[in-house]
Amino acid sequence: MKNHLSEHQLVDHLFRLDDKGSSRSAEQHLAECAECHAERDRLQQKFASLDSLRDTTEASETLIADTLRRIRLDQPARTVWFPRWAWGLASAAAAAVLLAVVWTGHPPQPQVLTLAKSAEAPAPAPELARHEQKEAVMELAMDKPMAASVSAPAEQPAVDGELLMAQAPSGGRGLAEDRIFEAEAPPPAARAAKSMRRGGEVAAEWRTHASTPGVTVEVTRQKPGADAAVQEWKVTAANTGDVPAAVRLERSFTSATWEVTTAATNVSVVRDSERKVLVTFDLAPTERREFGLTVAQAARDDDLRE
């Protein structure tokens, strides 16, 4: 018989990959051609071995639990988005400060937005911390709806991209009313999202002890001061790899629990002692010198509590 079916046609016919017309004519041909019939049987036998991989794979409970835990921990850090009028107010205040600077001839002071409950007194002067890396973002999650107000200028001058830390009014109101954010503008949404995305992964590695070169961030609990209700925490980022040093932050916090997220890779969070947490992550030396760091209230309040 002329015009035997090709392997292509036989395969398509076997697995119903051909259209109806081709299928019908192949069927007809196979009914009449013993040679093609035998060839189809040979292929069929060959493909029968594929079924050896059909056995059911069962996902373990551990895998499912780990997956659900990662999802749970991946909740993005809650970021407070200011209403437009707040940014308008901030811009107006910045313009006023600029005008004052020009007027008085003093060097420019940083603009710091401090969050406070709208009904409460305006914030005192913020503490400032300096670092040499661009575009670091560090923020504390907010628990309650807040309004923005503009604080007085800080004591130290800021540079472009410098990390600013604004202090909420004191009086034991605590972490929920503190916010640290980048100078001048809210972090771009894309970068903020990038920061958030790493959150769960970092948290999932909580208590792991991997050690990689890069940047080390220490969150250290200081000895309680005279006011025992206010715990002293120091956050320090130091260069331990091929990354320009350094971020140094100092700040009083009233919470004992932290969740640190970064946009970097190979992040490990190690509870080094009762008073210290080490956060280590890699930044590729060839990449831009930037990283996002979010410090948020963690769900596990017991982790670092003394």
Partner: protein, 210 residues
């Protein structure tokens, strides 16, 4: 697929995938857990056939559901969940395959390969025919090697439609291509396998085919 678990309520178990996604977007945190359990076995099976090792399959499995969680808000009404889930998984699996080609794989001596059983399962088998088991394992390894030889997209089309039983339409949605392209990829994959796989099935000493 798993049908029940103590963590989820029975009502949620009855809901469609799409209704569960809507519920999750609206704040029902347990809805995604139901979906994870519903697709756990099938998705892991797919990934195990797609990537190099069981460990890598489990990594991609976790990453897939993390993506589902993160992209939940973009899951639009009228869309079907299953092809969307497998599209995410396929994308991540192909990425993992490409990474594996660029970087040498380090395999733990303790970790089972994708087609292998864990060590405990390889302990002396009480089954009456160890020779048949050995041949079955060898046959599985042959098929596994043949699958590994396929380009990632051909492999994905084949595994989705042939092994996982997705319709051509679902496979097309998962791969982001037309039904015709899926069929073309499958046809090429089968022809490649026809060249790689041995003609005769392996047989035991008694001559029985497996």
């Amino acid at each position: 697929m798993r049908n029940s678990h103590q963590e989820e309520n029975p009502e949620a178990m009855e809901q469609t995938d799409e209704a569960l996604m809507t519920a999750y977007v609206q704040g029902d945190a347990t809805a995604l857990a139901v979906l994870v359990r519903r697709y756990a076995d099938q998705l892991l099976g797919y990934l195990t056939r797609m990537v190099a090792s069981r460990q890598q399959a489990e990594d991609v499995f976790q990453e897939t559901f993390l993506r589902v969680h993160r992209k939940a808000a973009s899951f639009t009404a009228g869309r079907r969940f299953k092809p969307w889930l497998f599209a995410i998984a396929t994308h991540l699996a192909i990425d993992a395959l490409r990474r594996r080609r660029r970087t040498p794989v380090t395999v733990s001596l303790d970790a089972p390969a994708a087609d292998e059983q864990p060590l405990a399962a390889r302990l002396p088998d009480p089954s009456p025919d160890p020779a048949a088991d050995a041949i079955r394992n060898e046959q599985r390894a042959q098929v596994r090697r043949a699958l590994d030889a396929l380009p990632p997209r051909q492999r994905a089309a084949l595994v989705l439609a042939y092994f996982e039983g997705l319709s051509y339409s679902e496979a097309a949605q998962s791969l982001g291509c037309s039904v015709g392209t899926v069929k073309t990829q499958m046809s090429r994959a089968f022809r490649t396998l026809a060249r790689i796989l041995p003609d005769a099935p392996l047989r035991t000493a008694q001559g029985g085919a497996l």
